[in-house]
């Protein structure tokens, strides 16, 4: 068993980029403290590699060629694609893990048709988690993307199968791998409704996620999610995949809906692996 850590973490450009616009600074600082605890837990698990399942928001792909599932197999990755001043995260080159990523993709392709990319540019979806969880840029990164922004989107049962395939692949290699899903729960980013958060919906979803209630997790239709959780809610795919990777229950360690300037309910949690 080489899955040394499995969890979820929110991302949003505002978490770093609009930090100075927060009025509720005590909640913001509690969030940052939760990031620090998650970082410590990941470090304690002694990972060789960090594997982030994210939504890439057109950092690499456009509707001319949009993979449902893709893995970054390059020697290194760069980011952020955003203006570093706007995002308040300096540009960096992040080591990849090409040989390991190649092993994983060959295994995953036994059950899920996955695209690969030897070039990967990281946007806030990866850079915000990395900023908090690997600030010193120590860990090699294997990025994985689930298309959450350009419908049609992969059905949730395929997302679950993708997560299970990742786990099967991870179990076959000797490296210690920390896997995190990073996505929003309910949110309406980049619309005039930015800051709207459906806390009840978030908490119900997170309850299902950390109890491994697969049936309930896969019961969300995109129409329901769009109505109740906004287009940002489509990113539950990244979290559902992480739950399938873990295959075990876990615990929500931090949640707040009280930072609307970040445009997302901020959640941090881990599965017991």
């Amino acid at each position: 068993m080489t899955l040394c850590y499995s969890g979820i973490v929110s991302h949003a450009p505002g978490i770093t980029g609009r930090a100075d616009l927060v009025q509720n600074t005590s909640v913001r600082d509690a969030l940052y403290a939760a990031f620090a605890r998650q970082r410590a837990e990941i470090e304690a698990s002694k990972p060789d590699v960090l594997l982030l399942i994210a939504a890439e928001h057109f950092a690499n792909f456009f509707m001319n060629n949009m993979p449902s599932f893709c893995i970054g197999t390059g020697e290194s990755h760069t980011g952020p694609i955003e203006d570093p001043v706007w995002l308040k995260i300096p540009a960096r080159r992040i080591a990849g893990a090409p040989e390991l990523a190649g092993c994983l993709v060959r295994s995953i392709m036994q059950s899920v048709d996955m695209a690969y990319a030897e070039e990967w540019q990281c946007n806030h979806g990866l850079m915000v988690p990395l900023h908090f969880l690997d600030p010193d840029n120590r860990l090699p990164l294997i990025p994985m993307n689930i298309n959450c922004q350009g419908p049609p989107l992969a059905p949730l049962h395929r997302v679950w199968a993708f997560g299970e395939a990742i786990r099967e692949a991870v179990d076959q290699v000797p490296e210690r791998i920390a896997v995190l899903g990073t996505g929003g729960i309910s949110h309406w980013p980049a619309t005039p409704d930015s800051g709207k958060i459906n806390e009840a919906w978030d908490r119900e979803f997170l309850g299902r996620l950390f109890t491994q209630d697969k049936k309930a997790l896969l019961s969300y239709s995109d129409e329901d999610t769009y109505r109740d959780a906004g287009q940002g809610g489509f990113e539950i795919r990244t979290l559902i995949a992480a739950a399938a990777v873990a295959g075990t229950p876990g615990r929500l360690q931090f949640y707040t809906a009280e930072l609307p300037i970040f445009a997302v309910g901020c959640a941090i949690g881990r599965f017991w692996v």
Binding site: L21, Q23, H57, M63, E82, A190, P192
Partner: protein
């Protein structure tokens, strides 16, 4: 309506420095590569974020264009609201305004929002 082409231009502008350079030097030449309606072309040239939003440009693309234009965050949100007020509801895509134009950032930037 050629939303795909409109988004393709904005995506390439966001992601490719050469497209930004060309657009800065010769906007007409840069835009001639895309099959755009006069309304779409005019919205780009005017930096009309409100109209581009109503036309259905994906928010994850439009957000970067607004940033490139130097539009501050709350101004960007307000311009989208103004776009809906002037041009009507969002015509395509999954980024419709659902909150009636109200601000959801109270407590985390309301003060700044009201300054717009």
């Amino acid at each position: 309506m050629s939303l795909y082409q409109l988004q393709k231009f904005l995506y390439q502008l966001n992601r490719d420095p050469a497209v930004r350079t060309l657009y800065g030097d010769d906007p007409a030449a840069a835009l001639s590569r895309y099959e755009l309606t006069p309304e779409e072309r005019q919205a780009i040239e005017a930096g009309d974020v409100g109209l581009l939003y109503v036309l259905g440009v994906n928010g994850q693309i439009l957000m970067h264009f607004a940033g490139w234009l130097g539009i501050p965050w709350f101004d960007y949100l307000q311009r989208m609201r103004e776009g809906v007020r002037i041009h009507g509801p969002v015509r395509a895509g999954v980024y419709a305004m659902t909150g009636g134009g109200q601000s959801f950032t109270a407590g985390g930037g309301q003060q700044q929002d009201q300054q717009q």
